[in-house]
C-alpha cells in the first residue's frame, strides 16, 4: 500500500511533467517552469515528509497536514471561503460529539492555513481549537504551551506543520489512554471530512479564467488527491466500526458508508487499469462525492 501510494504520485507527476514539457510554449512559460520546479521541490519534500510522518499514523490515517500539503502541491491557490469560521467555536462547546468533530475540522483547517503560510489566521484558529480541546478535557493539548511553541516557529513552515501533527497525535493518544475511543474516532472523522471538503471545494470553485492547460493540470492533481483519499476512508470506516456502540459514531459510520458508495461509483481502479485515468476524470464526475461531502460537513459544522 505504501509503495502504491508513492508510486502513484511519482507516476502522475511524471505524466504531468511530461505533458507540461510537451505543450508548454506559452506566455505562462516561466510561471509554469517555476511552478514545476517548485512542485518538484515540494514533491520531494512532501515525499520525505510523508515517509517520516507516516510512522505516526493517526489511528491508521495519515497525519492531519497531509491532505492540505497535497492540495498545495497541486498548484491550487488558497481559497479562504473553504475553511470553517473560527468564531463558531463557542457554539461547538456543547456536547462531546460536536466538540470532537469540529476539533478535527479545525485541525485540518489549521494544516491548510499553515501550508499556505497564513500564520496570523493560524493563531486565531489555534485559539478556537484550544476552546474545543479544553471542552473535551484535554487541557494541555492546544493550550498556551503549544501556542507559544507555535509562535517560536512562525518562520518555519515545516516546523509549524509538524507541531500541528504532533498535537493531534497527542490528543489521540490521550483519548485512547482514557478509554475514549469514540471521541477520538469522531475527531478523526471531522478531520477527514474537512480535508475532503476543501479538496472538492477547490475543484468546484476553481476559477474558469485560468488558461486551460494550467487548469487541467491543477484540476487533475486535485482530483487525484481526492481519489487518493478513498484509502483513508476505508481506514476511517474500520475505526468507526470498532466504536459503533457509541450512537454518534454509529450515525457517522452510516454516513461514511454512503460516501464510500459514491467513491465506488467512480470505478477508479478499473479506469486506471484501463489507463484512461487522466481522461475520464474531470470535475463533473465528482458531483456525487461533492454533494455527499457537503451534506456530511454541514451536519458537522452546523
Amino acid at each position: 500500500m505504501f509503495l502504491d501510494k508513492s508510486a502513484r504520485i511519482v507516476c502522475l507527476i511524471a505524466v504531468w511533467a511530461f505533458a507540461a514539457c510537451s505543450t508548454g510554449e506559452n506566455s505562462g512559460d516561466t510561471a509554469q517552469d517555476t511552478a514545476t520546479t517548485a512542485a518538484m521541490d515540494t514533491a520531494t519534500v512532501s515525499a520525505t515528509t510523508t515517509s517520516t510522518t507516516d510512522s505516526k499514523v493517526l489511528g491508521g490515517l495519515p497525519p492531519t497536514s497531509e491532505v492540505p500539503a497535497m492540495l498545495q502541491l497541486s498548484g491550487a491557490d488558497f481559497n479562504p471561503s473553504l475553511v470553517n469560521s473560527a468564531g463558531k467555536a463557542t457554539g461547538y462547546t456543547t456536547t462531546t460529539d460536536k466538540a470532537a468533530l469540529n476539533l478535527g475540522v479545525y485541525a485540518t483547517d489549521i494544516g491548510y492555513l499553515s501550508v499556505y503560510d497564513k500564520t496570523q489566521d493560524v493563531i486565531t484558529y489555534l485559539k478556537s481549537a484550544e476552546k474545543l480541546a479544553n471542552h473535551l478535557g484535554l487541557n494541555n493539548t492546544f493550550g498556551t504551551e503549544m501556542q507559544q511553541r507555535f509562535q517560536r516557529n512562525l518562520n518555519n513552515k515545516d516546523s509549524l506543520v509538524k507541531i500541528v501533527d504532533e498535537s493531534m497525535n497527542y490528543v489521540n493518544s490521550l483519548l485512547k489512554e482514557g478509554n475514549r475511543d469514540a471521541t477520538a474516532a469522531l475527531i478523526v472523522t471531522g478531520s477527514f471530512i474537512e480535508g475532503l471538503h476543501v479538496s472538492t471545494g477547490l475543484v468546484e470553485k476553481y476559477p474558469k479564467n485560468v488558461p486551460s492547460d494550467v487548469r487541467n493540470q491543477t484540476l487533475t492533481q486535485l482530483i487525484v488527491s481526492i481519489t487518493r483519499q478513498e484509502q483513508s476512508l476505508d481506514d476511517l470506516i474500520n475505526i468507526l466500526q470498532e466504536v459503533k456502540s457509541d450512537p454518534q459514531a454509529a450515525a457517522y459510520l452510516t454516513q461514511m458508508q454512503d460516501l464510500k458508495k459514491q467513491f465506488e461509483a467512480l470505478n477508479l481502479d478499473e479506469q486506471i487499469r484501463n489507463n484512461r485515468g487522466d481522461l475520464m476524470i474531470n470535475d463533473k464526475t465528482l458531483t456525487g462525492i461533492s454533494a455527499k461531502v457537503k451534506q456530511i460537513r454541514s451536519r458537522i459544522v452546523g
Partner: protein
Amino acid sequence: MNEQVLRAIIHLLAISVTIDGVAQEERDTIRKFLYENVDDDSVAKYLRLFDEYVRNSTAHPDDPREIEYICAQINTELEMQQKVIILLRLIELGLADNNFSSAEETFLWQVCEELHIGKSTYASIRHFVETRDIYSVPSDNILIIDSHEPTEGFTRNYIQKPKIRSTLGVLRLPEVDMYLVGAAYPAIDVYLNGHRLKSHYVAPLTSGSVIRASGETVFYSDIIGHFLKSERKQRITFEARNINYFFPNGKQALHNINIAEEAGTLVAIMGSSGSGKSTLLNVLNGNLEPQTGKVLVNGLDIYHQRDQVSGVIGYIPQANFLIEELTVYENFYYTAKLCFANLSDFGVDRLVVQTLRSLGLYEVKDLKVGTPLEKTISGGQRKRVNIGLELLRQPSVMFVDEPTSGLSSRDSENIMDLLRELTMMGKLIFVVIHQPSSDLFKMFDKLLVLDTGGYPVYYGNPVEAVVYFKTLVNQVDRDMSACIECGNINPEQVFNIIESHVVDEYGRVTGERRVSPQRWYAFFREHIKIPKLDPAREKPVHTLDIPSRFSQFMLFSSRDFLAKLSNRPYMVINLVQAPLLAFILAYIVRFYHVDELTGRSEYIFAENVNIPAFIFMSIIVSLFMGLTISAEEIIKDAKTLKREAFLNLSRTSYLFSKMLILFCFSAFQSFLYVLIGNWIVGIQGLNLTYWLVLFTCSCFANMLGLNISATFNSVITIYILIPVLLIPQLILGGVVIKFDEMNPMMSRQGEVPILGDIMASRWGFEALLVSQFKDNAFEKQFYNLDKQVANADYKKTYYLPTLSSKLEYCSDVEAAADQKAYPKYAENLLLLRNELTKEMKSNPALGKVPLGNLNIERFDRSTARRVKEYLDSARAWYVRQYNLAYEAKDQITASLVSTEAGKQDFLARRANFHNDAVERLATNSTAEHRIIEYRNHLMQKIYPVYNDAPNLGGVAEFRTHFYSPGKPFLGMRVSTLAFNVIVIWLMSAVLYATLYYEVFKNTVSGNFLRRK
C-alpha cells in the same frame, strides 16, 4: 407679641377704660404699656387704635361675650406670666384715676376668670399696687428693700441697702411663680435693668434682673434667696481632705488642698494661669483620682464608692459640649430623656420648656446649635445651653469651669445670677472664675485662691480676702476692702499683691516674684483655719432616673440618626458614595471584544476578563466605605461622652446604637452598590450573595473604624490610618499577590498563610469568587458532575502517574546495588506510603497494599509488583469514573440543546451567567504546577474549587487551600460562603470586644507618656 393678641389687649384696656370714662392718667398708663411691648414707631398707631376702640366700644360690663372672645384669643397665645402682666396693667389702669368702681372690679374679676388667674393672685397684686405704704401690707410674700436697720422684732423679709434713697417692695406670687417690684414715692435714682423705675410703677422682676439704686446693687437671686430659704430640703456636705495630686510626669499639681462646704453655698476658685484650677476641679468632680487624700460627699468617698454618689455631682466644662446638628430644644430633649426615664413625653417637654425659659433660651429653641464657625445662636446662648444641659438634672453639687469667659458683662451677670439662684435652692456650686467684676465677686459666699504650682493661699470670705493680703504685706490702707464711694471691690488687688514682682534698681519690673507661692502657702497654713464641718449622714439623693439599657439604646440611636439627618453634606456624601463608586468601577471594568472581522461588538459577560478584579475591588470599596463612615464617629461624640460620663450611662447601649446606625448605612450602601455595579457589569442572579458579603465586609470595616475612632484624639491621625489599614487588605487578600507566590517563609503549601487569614478581604473574596463560579445559574446544574470529572481527571492524569513514576524509581533503586547512594529513595517510599494510606482510606473498594513494606528495610520486588497492580487498577477505576461522569454531563447537555431554540438558550445562558476569567481562577487552569510534592505528601494544585479538603474533624481543619468549595469544621462540612461570612462576623465581634474594653486605646496611651 402677636399683632392679634396686642389688639385684643388694647381692646380689653379700652373696655376697661370706658367703664368710667377716659382720663389722662389712664392714657399715660396705656402709653407706658405700649412702649413696653411694641417698637416706638408703632406706639402712635396703637394709641390711635385704642382711641378708636374706646369710641366704638359698646360693651357693657354685664355683657360677657365680647370679653370672653378677647380673652380666648389671649389664652391661645400667651403664657400665664404674660397674662398676669396684662392683669397688672388693667389693675393699674383701673387705679390710675384713683377711682376704683365696683363695675371695674366686676370687670376685672371676669377677666381673671377668663384668663384662669386665681383670685388670691388678683388680690395680692391689687393690694400691692394700691398701697402707699408697703410696710402696712402684712404678707410673707412681700420683701422690702430699704436703707435703715431693721428694728427689733422685725421678722419680715427685708434687705438692707444703706445707701438706697427709696423704699422698694417686691411681691411674690407663688401660684404663678412670679415676682413684681415697685418703688415707693418718691422713686429716686432707682434703675431696673438699666431702665428708670418710676414711682408707683410696678414692673415684673425676672430671672437675672438687677436693681441698681444709688450705688447699691440688688440681684434677683438675692431677692428670691429670702423667699426660698425655708424651702431647702436636703442637706449636702462636701469635703476635700489633704488632696495631693501629681501629674503623670511626676510634677505635683496640688498641694494639700482642704475644703469643707455645705449646700447653699457658692464658692469661687480663683488663681493665676497654671495654678491648677482646672485640675482641682477635675479632682473634686471625680475625673482625676488624687494620689493622696479623699473627696467626700456626705461622708462617702466619691472615688471608692462611686455608685452611691452617682448622679449627685455635675460638671460644666469650659468648652461647650453640645450636639451641633440638633436644635437647642432637641439637645435638651434628649438629655432630659436620658436623665428621667420616669417622665412621660409630655413631662419631658414641660421640663425642657421650663428650663429653656429660665435660661432665656425659649425664643431660640428651634435653632440649630451650630458650631462657632457656623453661627446660629450667639456665644452667650451657647454657654447657657451648655449650662442648661447640666442643670436639667439638678445635681446637688456642681462644678463650673469659667462660665463667664467670652461673655459680655450683661450675659455674665445673667449666668452668675442663675448659679446663685441655684444655690438659693439648696445646691453647692464651685465656680472657677477669672477676672470677675466687682458685682460678681460680691455674689460669692466663699473664695479659694490658688497660687502657681497648686498651693492654696486663701480660703474664706471673698470680701475679706483683700484685707487679708493687704495685712500680710503691711499695706497702708489695709483696712479698706472696698471703695468708700462706689462700693466696688477690686479683686485684681488680690492678685496684684500675690503676684507682685521685684522692682530692680532702675525701677523696672523684673520677672521675679516678691513673695513665692510657697511662702504664701506657709502664711496660709499659719493663719487660715479650715472650718470644721459636721458631715451629713443621709445618703445623697438625686433626681436621676436613668432609663433601662434598651431605652438608652433607642434614645442614642434616634438622637444620632436625627443629628445625621440634619447634616445634609454628610447624608449626601454617604448615600451618593456607593452608587457613584459602583458606576465608575463597573463602567471601567466592562470589557468586551470589538471583533474586527465581523465588526460585531457586543458585551458578553463570559468573556469579560476583569470580573475577578471587579469582585476584589468591590470588597476593597466596601471596606473603604465602611471605614470612612465610621472613622469619625466616636471622636465626634467625644465631648458629649465626657459630659454624659457623669450620668453613668451604659457604654454598651451607646456602642450598640452606633453600630445600629452604621450597619444601617452599610446595608443601604451595599444595596445601592450591588444594584448598580452588578447591573452594569452583568452579574446576574447572585445579587443577594454579593450584598451579603459586601455588607459583612462593610460592617467589619465599621467596627474597625469605631476602634480607631475611640483610640485617637486627632481626626487627622484617624484619616491617615485608613489607607494604612486598607493596604494589608489589598496585599493579603489573595488576588494582587497569589498566596502560592508569596514568600514561602510565610506559609505552608496547601494552606492560606495566617497573615492572609486575618484579612477580611481574603475571606470575602474567596466567598464571592467561589459562589460566582459554582452557584451561578448556568454552572449550578453541572457543578457536581464537573466536580467528579475534575477529581477523576486529577487522579488519573497527575496523581497516579506521579505515584507510578515514584514507584518505578524505587523499583530501580531496589534492584541496584548500593541503595544508600540514592537519597531520595527513603523519601519516595515515605511519600508512597503516605499517599497510599490516604487513597486506601478514601477508596476502600480499590483494594489493599502492604503499607508496612513501604520502607527501606522491607521494600522488595513483590511489594513493588503489588503496588503497581494497585496503581494500575486504581487508574483504570478513575478512568471509568471520569468517563461515567463525563457522559452523564454530556447527556444533560444533549437534552438541553436538542432543539435549536434550546441550543441558543444554552449558549446564551453560558454567555450571561458563566465567566471564563472566574473559571480560570477557580480551577487554576493556567497554573504551571498542577501537583506538587511537599514534605512527603502530594498536594493538588489544580481544580481547587472542586477539591474538597479531607474532613478529619478537629477545629483548625478549616485552614484549607484558597478557593475551596467548603470548609470542614468539627466534622461537618460548611459551604465556603456561609463559613467565610461567619468568620468575618466573628472578627467583627472580636473588634466589638476590643472597642468595649478600649484595648487599643490603652495600648497606645500606655506606650508613651501623655502630658495633660
